[in-house]
Symmetry: C2
Subunit: 467 residues, 2 copies
């Protein structure tokens, strides 16, 4: 998951404050899908597909590892999926890649030694997109600040120093601004590099990377994360009045952009094939860990849902399209390319789903939709009672890539028991071990069921969204 | 905490199955300490010493970092504490170091690359005491086994391979045998190196080291830990029938032993100075993390308890002796030297305490004692009601160093809310962040109170222990 700004992404618990008055015909029609949904649930949780989402994903991440934007591993993994999706037994339709030009930033040397008051290694993880320090690194005094206000207070002391951000963790969305904007805010006062406390509520000396964003008008300075533990240690040392001297060496490379692909597969609609219900996740990951959580799980339930429906012979009236976005971590590059390429077709996109906030125990859906849409979703989610995933939550932005359509199209993301998501996010611990195979099965069932029902209802899902 | 064998250290919940019949005089005498204990509790949790155990320990670990056996940091930290303990305001008595010859093993190069089926780095952490691979490392096929029985079953396939232990976690005491005995058991069948799943119930791709023990009659092979995540990945790859080839390079050094010191400080007894109540922890640590948990916390409450008692002017009838053991991690080296040097004096050791199982929220004491001793401890612990730390638990072995006396002397260890202890144990995450300052204060209070009361009662604590 990539996040640029807070405002967009702080979840609000909203309510349209109305009671649902769907026509009894529509309610009846939705309820008529219970048998189909049960069939999907049985296939994924007990039958042929039990454990398969996990197994297919495990094979995938074991085979390719991390899939960073620009890497050969990403392109190989895309090629593999394109082949797999159209192979015998899978037989998805219209499987193809759609070209996207994406960045090729490479993490290189990343070392930090504390020289004073004690010589010790401080593990660092360069932030995505960071520039380099000078060729042999920089040796400088560090200054620890607790927040941006604190930085503003001590601005006269910042010049020539390495600014260390040691904010108190509130939540990811509140704190990610230090990763995004911290370097430029420090550089404005003359800092020569920045170290940013990893954005997480829990750490076992764990480093978290993620994209940083430079302001154009301000000199770009190297930026890396440090652990909570080291941020707090540096704070203690400074609070005692001791001088901190660091030697930081960050060497990164921005290579030429490469051509990557959004991965597309479909089950063509039987009545209105031009109308699309889209399910998605992103296929790229950071280069630490293997991108199992972010976003292997989301990507896999989003094409495996189609695999299950296809195997069950379920062909909805509208087209079900699975898209695995490329280069999400670099700033939603893949979805923006899709948005441009499919501009003329977007008004035929009935409903858009993305899972990029974990695939832990599924609980239901978070969605952006108007009044009637909300009522339809509440009714559809009731069908998921057999797996206790009936919850619905109106939010002001759902998904990560698909937030670009939040004012345009009804969208939804998987509501799941993801309270520990940020323990693993953008770390070496983003591995298969975050997953419970049974939870993945239920998520596939939910994803397939909702997408199928919305693609198959007689009436189009209402397009209105809150503005 | 170092642990050699399971049997010694599996905690049994025992019971003497009797009701306490202490003399009413003794009960009355114990209860008369409530005011003194309250004074200690107030001083540590509200008064002059509030937060001080944490602050002193934080300064100590920030200043010296890890304190591995043989390192200059360990000796510097010992020197620092010896100075501090006798400095003005601290004024502990008979402060001195007692020489101990300790090992000087050094972790060097530790790299592992998986060459097949995919090239990727596998982070490894060499086990303490491991020998090296050949000078440029070894390149070999890996074989993953689930337990020792599994190893025995596939013994014909082991020769020339790297054995990977991927046991299922049961508990630390059940699984640590893979770290202790895994290398020799694999070498017996001709393995050339071993990788052992880190001994922990929870991981964020976290590596755990610890001492390994070679059998004399079997070739010694290099041994390192890998993460749970990688152990399970290797298992999956093998289960799919794919060949795993690793290049493992472990270079360690066994330098000449060095002279270290057990750190001793006392409050001399007013009536029977030759009789000793001993409180202890170990001052050395592994070289990963900073040894805050293992065993900075235990060591600090064990001398800070005396600091508080001294400041409060509390001088017990018997001598209170604080000992910080050196080189516990290398196999209880410091305590064994003390045992030898103080042989003639051991029958004057009334009660021996060590904290080396975490200093989280204190709950009471785990102890090894006879019937009457048990009753006395239950009564004494009632005095800790103001901090809700009144629990007592009879075990068959208490402490780590002091287990050498478990059949000889009454012993006790801190009972605390340490259910996550093994998340941090022997890892880079053993830092100050494991601690809550208020919990440390209460632990100091408990430690000081119990030691003081047992050292001050009219009657010696009964020497009988279960055999």
């Amino acid at each position: 998951m990539w996040l640029s700004t807070i405002a967009v992404l702080v979840y609000a618990s909203l309510s349209h404050a109305h009671t649902c008055k769907l026509s009894s015909d529509l309610v009846k029609e939705i309820r008529s899908y219970q048998g189909t949904v049960n069939q999907i649930i049985n296939a994924t949780t007990k039958g042929l597909f039990k454990g398969k989402t996990y197994d297919e994903l495990a094979y995938f991440v074991d085979k390719f590892g991390a899939r960073q934007s620009g890497s050969q591993a990403l392109e190989d993994s895309i090629e593999y999926l394109l082949d797999l999706m159209q192979s015998t037994g899978y037989d998805l339709e219209n499987v193809h890649g759609e070209n996207v030009t994406i960045p090729h930033w490479i993490r290189g040397t990343q070392t930090c030694e504390m020289l004073s008051p004690r010589r010790t290694n401080i593990p660092v993880l360069t932030l995505g997109g960071s520039v380099s320090t000078s060729a042999n690194g920089v040796e400088a005094e560090a200054i620890v600040v607790k927040d941006f206000d604190d930085l503003d207070r001590v601005f006269e002391k910042v010049k020539g120093k390495i600014v260390v951000y040691n904010y108190e963790y509130v939540n990811y969305f509140a704190n990610v601004e230090y990763r995004s904007n911290g370097p430029s805010k420090a550089a404005k006062y003359g800092a020569i590099a920045t170290l940013i406390r990893s954005v997480t509520p829990f750490s076992l000396n764990t480093l978290h990377t993620g994209l940083t964003e430079y302001e154009d008008s301000i000199p770009k300075i190297a930026a890396a994360s440090i652990t909570i533990e080291d941020a707090r240690m540096l704070q203690r040392i400074q609070d005692r009045g001791d001088k901190i001297v660091l030697k930081l060496n960050i060497q990164t490379q921005n290579l030429d952009p490469v051509t990557s692909r959004n991965v597309v597969a479909e089950i063509k609609g039987s009545r209105d094939p031009e109308k699309v219900v889209l399910v998605s996740g992103h296929i790229d990951s950071w280069d630490v860990g293997v991108g199992a959580l972010d976003d292997g799980g989301g990507a896999f339930i989003s094409w495996y849902a189609l695999r299950v429906l296809k195997a069950l012979g379920l062909k909805p009236k509208r087209t079900l399209r699975s898209v695995l976005w490329t280069a999400e971590e670099e700033g939603l590059i893949g979805v923006q390319a899709y948005d441009k390429a499919h501009k003329d077709e977007l008004d035929k996109h009935i409903f858009v789903m993305e899972s990029d906030e974990g695939v832990f125990t599924p609980l239901g859906l978070e969605y952006v939709a108007g009044h009637e849409g909300e009522c339809i979703l509440k009714e559809v989610l009731k069908l998921l009672a057999p797996i206790n995933a009936t919850q619905t939550k109106l939010v002001d932005s759902a998904g990560s890539d698909i937030t670009i359509w939040k004012n345009i199209l009804p969208t939804a993301t998987l509501l799941n028991r993801n309270e520990n998501y940020f323990w693993y996010h953008h770390t070496e611990a983003d591995t298969m071990d975050v997953f419970d195979p049974a939870a993945l099965d239920r998520a596939t069932a939910l994803w397939a069921s909702v997408a199928y029902v919305l693609a198959d209802l007689n009436k189009d899902f209402p397009r209105q969204v809150p503005k």
